[in-house]
């Protein structure tokens, strides 16, 4: 039996021919994109501005959207990543983003540390020393809980390449924490 609900592909094709028909995609993806941006800027008003820019860019560019097998969300999140990075670069600013145990638990495990407050602080500190591209990998993997495949779609990389990059960053974090601990003692 055929579903009466249009699938994502049909919605995209409809939006490509008429911008007014972008509404179902907007309704469905507004919240995930909003939260994706909020986790990086930690400010509701700024998040709302950046989210509306993301959707405006998506609507302008949807005519040239090609079905490559990657999910539509990956395309949308890639626009969001670029928009947030552009905001920080243009305004030469940074946002202070709080992380709690839930955010850091998995990452702490991955770098082979115990779940203590001291280690959480060291880890947050080590994260701040990473360059933008590497922080992005950690954000996508451990804070947004993406699979390697989804990350690859968002970043325009291969799945294996993404995995390798993430493991390199984890190794770097591990060394950075050890160094920071030694300096403290």
């Amino acid at each position: 039996m055929q579903s009466s609900q249009p699938n994502e592909k049909e919605l995209i094709i409809a939006a490509q021919s008429n911008p007014e028909r972008f509404a179902p995609l907007y309704d469905h993806w507004y919240k995930p994109v909003f939260l994706f941006v909020f986790k990086r800027v930690n400010d509701k008003e700024l998040t709302a501005d950046l989210t509306s820019q993301v959707f405006l860019k998506a609507l302008v560019a949807i005519k040239s959207y090609k079905f490559t097998g990657a999910p539509f969300s990956a395309w949308l999140f890639r626009i969001a990543v670029n928009e947030v990075n552009m905001y920080f670069r243009k305004n030469n600013k940074h946002a202070t983003v709080p992380l709690d145990e839930n955010d850091l638990r998995q990452l702490t495990e991955e770098v082979g540390e115990n779940e203590t407050e001291e280690n959480y602080n060291l880890l947050a500190d080590a994260l701040n020393d990473l360059p933008e591209e590497q922080t992005q990998l950690i954000e996508l993997r451990f804070f947004d809980k993406n699979s390697f495949l989804d990350m690859a779609h968002i970043l325009g990389l291969t799945e294996a390449g993404t995995k390798m990059k993430v493991y390199r960053v984890l190794e770097k974090l591990k060394n950075s924490i050890t160094l920071k601990r030694q300096r403290k003692q």
Partner: protein
């Protein structure tokens, strides 16, 4: 770039009601139309003020060229010689 700090008492993420406050598809479509439509809906010469300005510029140009031509003609006219 985001700078991270560990905070045990981190505030929860915005809820659905808060997020919905910012959702406005009408505004998105309006911004889309502004972003994709050309600056001028009418050609410049069809706008009254611009049309009058263009007419004045053309008249001034004609007047200046006419005066310049007249001056030139006077200068180059042959001088009458006495017999």
């Amino acid at each position: 770039m985001s700078k991270y700090k560990f905070d045990k008492n981190k505030k929860p993420l915005p809820d659905d009601a808060e997020i919905s406050k910012y959702k406005d598809f009408g505004k998105l479509v309006h911004n889309y139309q502004r972003a994709t439509k050309p600056l001028y809906h009418k050609p410049l010469y069809k706008q009254p003020k611009v049309f009058i300005f263009l007419v004045i510029v053309v008249l001034l140009a004609l007047l200046i060229s006419h005066l310049a031509e007249k001056e030139e003609r006077e200068k180059s006219a042959p001088v009458e010689q006495k017999p």
